[in-house]
């Protein structure tokens, strides 16, 4: 059986799903959004970004949409990406998994306070 590329869900793919949670974005905008939501910790390079996008597309967690809104003169048409319902479900289940981990960490007194 071929190994599923998104099982377990890589961090970069999860961040891309999160970045698309409330808006459609093109590649560079995804990179900027991920940078922002990780407080500058994750700067997706083009290889990692499009490799992850490719995997998410193959599994139908995101889909392509056309957008000409931010196209500058001479700029090529950019592909934007949108979260699908399957993608939303995947992101939610990953978030819940992480929340579970946080609960364990708090129970073990590794983390304190109301983080979640």
């Amino acid at each position: 059986m071929p190994k599923r590329k998104l099982d377990p869900l890589p961090s970069a793919a999860f961040q891309i799903l999160l970045s698309l949670a409330d808006q459609d974005l093109h590649g560079y905008a995804i990179m900027r959004q991920v940078l922002e939501q990780t407080d500058g910790r994750m700067r997706l390079g083009p290889g990692t970004l499009y490799s992850s996008i490719q995997s998410l597309l193959e599994e139908s967690f995101i889909k392509e949409v056309d957008s000409r809104e931010d196209a500058t003169p001479g700029d090529q048409r950019r592909r934007c990406y949108r979260l699908t319902s399957a993608g939303l479900k995947l992101a939610r289940s990953e978030a819940e998994r992480l929340a579970g981990l946080l609960r364990v960490a708090r129970a073990k007194k590794i983390l304190r306070g109301d983080y979640v």
Binding site: M1, P2, L44, G45, P46, Q54
Partner: protein, 480 residues
């Protein structure tokens, strides 16, 4: 330019990925180039791109081979090779060129790294003889001064290079050809006279040597000498002739001698410690030969403060043996404290341990007996060669004089005496013995002559000879 380089790197990705996302990846890089200006931003951008390339490239190639990944599930006939098409089109010329360039870059990087490692090894050699040796200066006969000094006052071993790296190896020491002028000659003579009067242990002898040098200078004997090496050799000969002391030496270094004692950094110490550990503190072999004969091949006496535990473990492992052979044929000297430490195992009570080099903390008596040690009454054989030098010779000489060991092999190299190093200027320095050391065994020790073995054989045959001697002695012991 950056865009072009990235476009080139993008060719390294599988064609499927390039077709699908090459344009977008390029667009992303263009966006970042537009938004991230300034040197630090550009450096960060390139770091990101290269790291990203290294991380994502293998993954993309793995992902580009779904057929291969699932091939194990396909039915295969035994012994029949099966082939899987990984790419639906042959690689383009550009891809092949990119691959060639990538390989060349990788090879270039590798060779640079290897060179770096080589340099590091060479610099590691400079610390081979221990911290004690770092304050030791060992000039070679007729060669440039060799200085590893971390101290302005350093112990000098006259006659052969034993311990220190060439100062030419030091990045700080730029080699220059010096043509002596009158002022330089005068400066050297004045400094030599001054140093002799201040530091030589025999003030009467110092006065005589100083007068002799000044006499030759007034006589104009030095005026025609423009070569630094020849000048240093002449002064050395004259001092030794008048002072009757072979420890005295004037040395010339074409490379500039360091101004001040070089401070030993924690990195130096760590590198030195690491070097010793990697070389097992110069214990090249510790074995039990047939007939319970212990064999230790020791190529140097490493710094006792670092290698004590290695030495203790090595000696303890020989505890059950009936005789011990120390192979010093490749021993180039080292730390006198380690010599004394090892000698302690060969006696059951403290013995006077003669050293021609007065160290900062002289250990004149062996620390015998060593608790739990059973080697004090076992026969000891030392293998020597013409390369056995300095501390290796001290170990041999003392044990021979005390009749505690049988020396087998060749006469040793002959480096015994030591003085204290005094820098005169950028190219001249001199070694002066400051303390008179009395040899309890003879008027002269092994300086210049070496230590004579009890059994003379070629160095290559020494081990066999020693084994035979040891075996016959053990046999005799049984029959007695």
């Amino acid at each position: 330019m950056s865009e072009k380089i990235y476009a080139f790197l993008l060719r390294l990705y599988p064609s499927g990925f390039r077709k699908a996302y090459g344009g977008e990846a390029m667009q992303l890089v263009r966006d970042r180039l537009r938004d991230e200006k300034g040197l630090s931003c550009r450096l960060r951008l390139w770091r990101d791109l290269l790291v990203d390339l290294a991380m994502s490239l293998p993954r993309e190639y793995r992902n580009a081979q779904p057929v291969l990944a699932s091939s194990s599930t396909q039915r295969r006939l035994d012994g029949v090779p099966s082939f899987h098409v990984l790419e639906d089109q042959p690689p383009s010329v550009g891809t092949i060129l990119a691959a060639v360039l990538f390989v060349l870059l990788a090879l270039g990087t590798l060779s640079m790294m290897l060179k770096h490692v080589g340099d590091h090894r060479r610099s590691s050699d400079s610390v081979m003889q221990g911290r004690a040796a770092q304050t030791r200066w060992a000039p070679s006969p007729g060669s440039a001064a060799r200085l590893s000094g971390n101290a302005s006052h350093a112990t000098v071993a006259v006659s052969q290079p034993a311990v220190a790296p060439s100062s030419a190896d030091s990045p700080r020491a730029a080699s220059t050809d010096l043509m002596l002028d009158n002022a330089e000659r005068q400066r050297v003579i004045e400094a030599a006279v001054d140093n002799l009067k201040k530091h030589y242990f025999d003030s009467g002898g110092a006065e005589k040597m100083a007068n002799a040098l000044l006499f030759h200078e007034r006589n104009g004997d030095y005026n025609s000498i423009n070569d630094g090496k020849a000048f240093a050799e002449l002064l050395t000969r004259q001092m030794r002739k008048v002072g009757q002391d072979v420890d005295l030496a004037m040395e010339y270094s074409p490379a500039r001698l360091p101004d001040h004692p070089q401070a030993q950094t924690p990195e130096d110490l760590a590198r030195y410690r690491n070097f010793l550990e990697q070389n097992n503190c110069f214990y090249k072999k510790v074995e039990i030969l047939p007939h319970a004969i212990g064999y230790v091949k020791l190529d140097g006496f490493a710094d006792a403060s670092i290698c004590r535990s290695t030495a203790v473990a090595a000696m303890a492992s020989l505890n059950g043996t009936k005789a011990v052979i120390f192979d010093l044929r490749d021993n180039r000297g080292g730390d006198p404290a380690m010599v004394s430490l090892m000698a302690a195992y060969l006696f059951d009570h403290p013995e006077y341990w003669y050293s021609p080099r007065p160290g900062p903390t002289p250990q004149s008596w062996t620390q015998s007996p060593v608790p739990g040690n059973h080697l004090a009454d076992k026969p000891v054989y030392l293998l020597t060669s013409a390369s056995t030098w300095s501390a290796g010779e001290q170990f041999s000489y003392d044990l021979k004089m005390m009749k505690r060991a049988t020396l087998i092999g060749e006469t040793t190299g002959g480096g015994a005496h030591a003085g204290v190093w005094h820098r005169i200027d950028d190219h001249f320095g001199m070694g002066i013995p400051e303390v008179r050391v009395v040899n309890p065994y003879a008027k002269n020790d092994w300086e210049g002559t070496g230590v004579e073995p009890d059994v003379k054989v070629k160095a290559a045959d020494a081990l066999i000879a020693a084994e035979k001697l040891a075996e016959s002695k053990l046999q005799r012991g049984k029959t007695d």
